[in-house]
């Protein structure tokens, strides 16, 4: 399996504060990679750099290289193109105040799909991929805001699918949801990883062990350890990792 994403010598500053220190990582295709660590350790910051969402924040400076399929995403790629290829699901479900259909059709419409039949097809396909089609197929024209939190998050996942990305980034996607919705989403991720590269930030170590192939442990903006999930959790190489996963701090 190839390296889908390569992160080389990346430093990130919010103004004076350094949030990421000399980060190096290779993320493989068709795997689920988890970022874990205490609050403020930089895991979400790194995630948001992968689709250049940090560009929207004033005063952010990034040095180093981030490559998608060996192309520099900051220097040699347009942000709107990047974000089509690298999708994101946010911590708090954020469907637009529009119908379910319009939510899922927004992405393809933006990127030029005008044909109604094609849009209908994409919407159905995306909702099926998010395991939502049967639940909402009879109320596509109703507002997405009328759904429960777990359903809204899966609409956001369907929305992420709608532009046919290669990578999907998830920033603590189930932290605001109930256990059953959480389980549905975890099952979904395991099922789709054969077609996508998935990076998930999570506060929940059990979630990381349940679904991820590789895990990276972050502390104070640095990667302390990055290994296959099983190895990291059963035989951590670094004492700080061991302290974290056994709950001695964080």
């Amino acid at each position: 399996m190839t390296d889908k994403i390569k992160i080389e010598n990346v430093d990130l500053y919010y103004g004076e504060f350094q949030a990421l220190k000399n980060v190096n990582m290779k993320i493989k295709e068709n795997e689920i990679t988890a970022f874990i660590g205490p609050s403020g350790c930089g895991k979400s910051t790194l995630l948001k750099s992968l689709n250049r969402m940090n560009d929207l924040i004033e005063g952010v400076k990034i040095t180093g290289k981030m490559l998608l399929d060996d192309v520099d995403i900051y220097k040699n790629m347009d942000a709107t193109v990047l974000r089509r290829r690298v999708g994101m699901v946010f911590q708090k479900p954020n469907p637009f105040p529009m119908s379910i259909y319009e939510n899922v059709a927004y992405g393809p419409k933006t990127h030029g799909v005008k044909n109604k039949a094609k849009l209908d097809e994409i919407v159905e396909q995306s909702l099926r991929s998010a395991a939502m089609w049967d639940e909402v197929k009879d109320r596509l024209k109703k507002s997405a805001l009328g759904l429960s939190g777990g359903q809204q998050q899966r609409i956001c996942i369907a929305r992420a699918f709608s532009v046919n990305p290669e990578v999907i980034l998830l920033d603590e996607p189930t932290s605001a949801l109930d256990p059953i919705s959480t389980m549905k989403i975890e099952d979904l991720l395991i099922e789709i990883k054969k077609d996508y590269t998935i990076v998930i930030v999570t506060h929940n170590m059990q979630q990381a062990t349940r679904i991820s192939d590789k895990t990276a442990f972050f502390l104070h903006g640095e990667i302390v350890e990055f290994d296959e999930t099983e190895k990291l959790f059963s035989m951590p190489k670094n004492k700080k990792t061991e302290d974290y996963i056994t709950g001695r701090f964080g």
Binding site: M53, A79, T80, L82, F90, N94, T110, L145
Partner: protein
């Protein structure tokens, strides 16, 4: 230590506060009462259908005719024109202020909008008479006193209303909607126009309705640029003079008496009722938005 003395004081003052608040209610009731008292009898004497739907306004003829249809149509045209001119510019300016404007430019444009809001109607009217009317006269047919000139001046007058209320609503849209849009690869402009502004539509609609209210009720600015001739319906034209409900009152009141005077007051009643209906639809929209 609450003594009986301060207790009584407290009760008295509370009553005074409450009564002060009631004065607004009394004022509204009084306005309704006295307007209707003078206006309704006149309408029934003239005949409701004849008053509202007759285009002939000729109070000094024998027999006199008191139909205000031409003025109603005049108000509609002039207000519609104001909306056509004021809403696009106002909304775009609001979007500019809320989403595109750098801080140092904001410090110039925002106070400018507030200043526009404070300019008295008479200044707008005089400006209209001295600057806009000649402009229309030179570039189009007619003498410049027209629906077009009125629409331009009213359009400018409602800009602050449209801009400030729309700007607040756009700013109030939650940031995570924009995040979701950017995450899908949309540009800033696409995000603003396809997600943020639509999410603010009830606020924008509110601003438009308030703008309509202002335009319909405006007298002085219009009377100085509209020409004030009563136009038969088949002769109304955008470059021709027009008389609105408001200008009808101010043009003839000084020499009117008897039924004529009452008919003018009835024109005021029609205006009043229309404004009440407008405010009511506004409250309905607001409560519907709140329920969502």
């Amino acid at each position: 230590m609450q003594t009986r003395h301060s207790n009584i004081n407290e009760i008295i003052m509370q009553a005074i506060f409450f009564l002060s608040a009631l004065i607004s209610v009394i004022a509204v009731l009084a306005i309704c009462l006295f307007l209707f008292m003078r206006g309704i009898p006149a309408i029934s004497e003239i005949g409701f259908m004849d008053f509202i739907f007759n285009e002939k306004w000729a109070p000094t003829n024998t027999p006199a005719s008191y139909g205000i249809l031409s003025m109603i149509v005049g108000s509609v045209y002039v207000t519609a024109g104001a909306i056509v001119i004021g809403v696009p510019i106002g909304l775009m300016c609001a979007i500019f202020l809320a989403e595109f404007c750098p801080d140092n430019v904001y410090k110039v444009v925002k106070p400018a909008v507030n200043l526009l809001a404070g300019i008295p109607s008479i200044i707008y009217g005089f400006f209209g008479m001295e600057a806009i009317v000649p402009l229309v006269r030179e570039n189009f047919r007619g003498n410049g006193y027209s629906i077009l000139s009125s629409a331009i001046i009213l359009g400018i007058m409602i800009l602050p209303t449209i801009i400030s209320i729309s700007e607040s609503s756009i700013r109030a849209v939650p940031e995570n909607y924009a995040e979701g849009s950017y995450g899908l690869g949309a540009t800033k402009e696409e995000t603003v126009f396809k997600v943020i502004v639509p999410a603010a539509k009830s606020g924008v609609l509110t601003s438009i309705i308030l703008g309509i209210g202002r335009a319909v009720g405006e007298t002085m600015a219009v009377v100085m640029v509209a020409g004030n001739s009563v136009m038969p319906l088949d002769q109304i034209g955008i470059l021709k003079p027009i008389r609105t409900l408001t200008t009808n009152i101010v043009t003839e009141m000084s020499y009117a008496s008897g039924l004529h005077e009452s008919a003018l007051i009835s024109t005021g009643v029609v205006l009043f009722v229309f404004i009440i209906m407008l405010n009511t639809s506004l409250s309905l929209i607001k409560s519907k938005a709140q329920r969502n």
